[in-house]
């Protein structure tokens, strides 16, 4: 692919945690617009860290990270919040507010577009209320609009979380182990939702996955991490199942020094 479509660029990125643990080491990586990238690796290989550097939930300690050609490492305040607004994220444990309704959870994905007082009073525009309905319709959860989140199953919660992230109108969707807490059937539904918003809405997706077979089924490209380093990067056409012995070998586990999966 040409360099013009590069959306996210890791330039020799380093991440060392305050306690000295190496999270990421010498990462050079270009993610193109519209790609569905699966990130594989053992727990502690740095997958979560890699994802969270993109929305600056983790700060990098060396190198540079560019989105749309602009370095994001120096962003502060409003600039940082606008960056985060353009990057959706879903989590292993869904991270919804259990005591709130589905509707309020989904609308909370939009607060980055509102002033403090307007959002605090719940003064969402009619357009955004409609947007919430559309987002829930997309993940087949509209009938649960007024249900409290703690009454939903895990798979349903993850789809609500996807709807919440869609409210941001993101360019990029980060999925941190999105199906690790789900059963096989709901796994398919959630992965299909992610694929749908990649193919139909053109959102670039980065997903941490434990399962290589799922990565091979859904992704355009697979990258592998081991001990915080990039050890594998191939488009799906060139991937073969044997490739992953290196990433998942016993030896790798001993070498891996990163925290936070």
């Amino acid at each position: 692919m040409s360099d013009e479509s590069v959306l996210i660029e890791f330039d020799n990125v380093q991440k060392v945690y305050p306690n000295g643990t190496v999270g990421l080491k010498d990462i050079n990586l270009k993610i193109h617009e519209g790609e569905f990238v699966a990130v594989v690796g053992l727990s502690g290989a740095g997958k979560s860290t890699l994802l969270r550097t993109i929305n600056r939930m983790h700060d990098i300690t060396g190198g540079d990270l560019k989105i749309d050609g602009a370095s994001i490492t120096g962003y502060k305040g409003k600039e940082l919040r606008n960056l985060r607004r353009s990057v959706g994220m879903i989590f292993q444990d869904f991270n919804l507010v259990n005591r709130s309704s589905v509707r309020r959870n989904v609308l909370s994905g939009r607060v980055g577009y509102y002033s403090t007082w307007k959002s605090s009073l719940g003064l969402f525009s009619a357009e955004d209320k409609q947007r919430a309905v559309d987002a829930l319709k997309r993940v087949n959860m509209l009938e649960k609009l007024y249900t409290r989140v703690d009454e939903l199953s895990g798979g349903q919660q993850q789809r609500v979380a996807i709807a919440r992230a869609l409210m941001q109108e993101p360019k990029i969707m980060l999925a941190d182990e999105p199906i690790a807490s789900l059963d096989p059937l709901t796994t398919t539904a959630v992965m299909d939702d992610l694929l749908g918003l990649n193919q139909e809405l053109g959102i670039t997706v980065l997903a941490n996955l434990h399962s290589v077979s799922l990565a091979m089924k859904y992704a355009d490209r697979i990258i592998g991490l081991r001990g915080g380093q990039l050890v594998y990067d191939k488009p799906i056409a060139e991937v073969s199942a044997d490739d992953f012995d290196g990433i998942y070998s016993e030896q790798a586990e001993i070498k891996g020094g990163a925290v936070n999966g």
Partner: protein, 264 residues
Amino acid sequence: MDKQQLPQRPFAQKYHVKGIGGALVFLALLWGSSVMTGVNWGEFFTNLDQFFDLLSRMAHPAWEYTNIVIQPILETIQMALIGTTIGTVIAIPFSILAARNLIKNSVVRGVIRFILNLVRTLPDLLLAALFVAVVGIGATAGVWTLAVFSFGMISKLFYETIETIDERPLEALRAAGANNTQVVIFAVVPQVLNSFVSYFLYTFEINVRASTVLGYLGAGGIGVYLQRSLSSFRYDQTAVIVLAILVVVIVIDAVSNNLRERLQ
């Protein structure tokens, strides 16, 4: 199985050193305290007939006094309600600033917690004496006393509640570009609201009881009448007041228990 393969239990665990040691220290403190304060149990029992004399005089309540008591009892409840509300409103921002999981800056947190500790150190009777001196005798002094007292208590209960919340939704909101206020409104408030209401009711209950004593210092409410009847040795009237307070406490306790159960 080979017996020697089991790991050795440490000495302290085997002979319950911590449990036995703790009990011994407690008993020593108890004995030391009673010796040093010179508590004389005999004196209490030899004067027991005084106690029964008082009880027998209270056994014939002056029921006609009930009508006079109703108005000050209502005033006591009103004082407690206003005082608790003012205290709670001020406590909310303080409890947010004192919560470890919301405020990472330990200096800010330390200053706020120091203020809260200071406020909690002041006994309510001292506060009442202070406010009576400042605003004069009457219900206003009682309201301010209860406001400060509730503030100290509620802010501690609130920030401890905030520290137990699930922090994962906060991460999600931050990742969506929310600012700190929005994170609190959308991810913290829904998680703590029920506990907050529950603690508010609990404090209100305590304040109703406390305000009966505050009247003693001239801070309004039923306490004024309690003091008057005791100092004029009208124990039949005292009995009516005590019974009236009992009824109010039972009713408030029942209502707040009921409300708190529904909040679960």
